[in-house]
């Protein structure tokens, strides 16, 4: 082999190596950014059963939600509250209870019906979300939501979480921690609940834990009269 051939071979080797080193991180980041590219399926319907028995002295789910989604936790009328603790007292009997309230992830969501641009949408797996690129900030969904589940971002935001897109002038609400669910984890509130009272799972799978429990205990949907078929059910309400 001549010197020239040797040099050429060396050059090609180095070039291929350099190209691989240059491209590899990009490929890796692309993969990370896009995550699992498999589309969500309507075979799954994510939902929750919340047992209100142990909610009286606890708000760990609310705190976990704020932390996971980068919310300030502020309580002024203009602050976002994706999840809140509601205290209830039966006006006739005086019975008291408390429960966490958030987007109920309706099968027939009024917010999706009224949204002019289609920014409010329901994923095939039942999670109701707001597309932050399409939301024009008209707040019609907030008027339409029977659960007061949505907040409008009234101020510029700083230090946002990369997994949780938010934006000034757009509407937002509980995403059922979609960024976690898509990675096979459970929502932050369910994870944080010390009593395991927030049971998250696939309502379409008759063998899932949540489905089995719903079959055996009495549970209710909030404002079931509206016929919205909520993904969140409450036990003890």
């Amino acid at each position: 082999m001549s010197d020239t051939d040797e040099q050429r071979r060396q050059f090609l080797k180095t070039s291929v190596g350099a190209a691989a080193v240059a491209i590899a991180p990009g490929m890796l980041m692309f993969d990370m950014a896009h995550g699992d590219t498999e589309p969500v399926s309507s075979k799954v319907r994510w939902g929750m059963l919340i047992d209100t028995a142990n909610c009286a002295d606890c708000d760990k789910c609310v705190k976990a939600c704020n932390k996971e989604n980068g919310l300030s936790g502020g309580l002024s009328p203009t602050d976002s509250q994706w999840m809140r603790k509601v205290e209830l007292k039966d006006m006739r009997t005086g019975r008291q209870l408390a429960l966490p309230m958030m987007c109920q992830h309706c099968a027939e969501p009024p917010c999706v019906d009224v949204c002019p641009t289609g920014a409010s949408f329901k994923r095939a797996d039942g999670i109701v979300l707001v597309d932050k690129h399409l939301c024009i900030g008209c707040r019609y969904c907030m008027m339409a939501c029977p659960y007061k589940a949505r907040s409008f971002v009234h101020e510029p935001l700083h230090d946002q979480k990369p997994d949780v897109p938010r934006g000034k002038g757009t509407v937002e609400s509980c995403t059922m921690c979609v960024q976690r669910v898509d990675k096979g984890k459970i929502p932050a509130c369910a994870e944080a609940c010390p009593n395991k009272s927030i049971l998250f799972g696939n309502l379409n799978d008759p063998d899932s834990e949540v489905s089995r429990k719903i079959r055996t205990v009495a549970s209710t949907q909030v404002r079931a009269d509206l016929g919205l078929d909520t993904g969140i059910r409450y036990q003890g309400l």
Partner: protein, 393 residues
Amino acid sequence: MANHSPQRFKTRLYYALLAAGGLVAMMGLYAAHMMEKYGHIITGMNNQIVWGMPHVFAIFMIVTASGVLNIASIGSVFGKAVYKGRAPLAGMLSIALLAGGLAVLMLDLGRPDRIIVAATHFNLTSVFAWNIVLYSGLFTFVAIYTWTLLERRMNRWIKPAGLVVFAWRIILTTGTGLIFAFLVARQAYASAILPPMFLIMSFTWGLAVFHVVQSAMYTWNNRIQDPVILKRMKNLLGIFVLGTLYMVAVYHLSNLYFAKQTAFEHFILLSGGIYPWLFWSGYVVLGSLLPLLLIYHPSLGKPKFVVLASLMVIVGSFSLLYVFIIGGQAFPLDIFPGYEVTSTFWDGQIGQYQPSLYEFLLGFGGLAIAFLITTIGVHALNFMPPEQTPQRV
């Protein structure tokens, strides 16, 4: 001296009016800029009262833009000669009011820069999306209709164009009413009576605005209105005011009949502070009963009283819209019927709202846009009704 001639004074006044209108419109744009820069935190709106003062102004203008076309419809569709001569003015006023109302509505959006998204992404189940089509359609159809009225060669198309506008505006105001009627869970809304109520309100407010503008034009041109025509038009306003009162009464009375709605009615009509006060004194007394007195009392009914009545109807309409839009949101959503509710998110509490200066600036900015279009329109084109009316001496 020529410098002090009435004509010269009028020219100066005209430019002064334009400057004043322009200044107010600029202040509206400034408010929109500030809201864009700092967010809605600088307004009084919040997560409980999500639609505020800008929506009161915008909905007034949009509803009135449809109602003012009544004059045109009575002329072109129902063939009443007296109204035919007033149809071009009605068309121009409709465009002016719609422009003002839509400007406010769009500039109040959280992301007004994304208006192109609203124009390119339609959700067919959204009445808002339908309204985007209805509003742009009204602009186009009214412009064509006004053209058929003003251009002699196009006169033979007046009737079909008038019919399209007539049908379109009825659908449009129905759509405005449906924005609220479709809100399934809100006690104040979710009623099929709202679209017809909005329709009658549009007749009333449109005619009131028309009276004010027409009267200003007659004064400007040193003419006095034909008493016979004025009488007809003022009586029509009276009937519309009564019609609106009737619809509002039926809306509240039917609510009062439903046990689940009585708490809301108690709030909005009696115990809700600013809301019942505005409803009774602003809408019922000042906006309806006093105008009716001015219109129908035998010793009143002169042009200046008709203008006064019309102005009162306009003030009343703002009161009614404030009560309807903001009072309707202030009353807490009944998420857990039968329970007393408290939370950090103001569940079960009356929503607090204090409109900020920026909201008023934006609202008045929209009115100024309508005012500018009207002023330039009546100055540049001939919108005076053509009938022979006595010259003022």
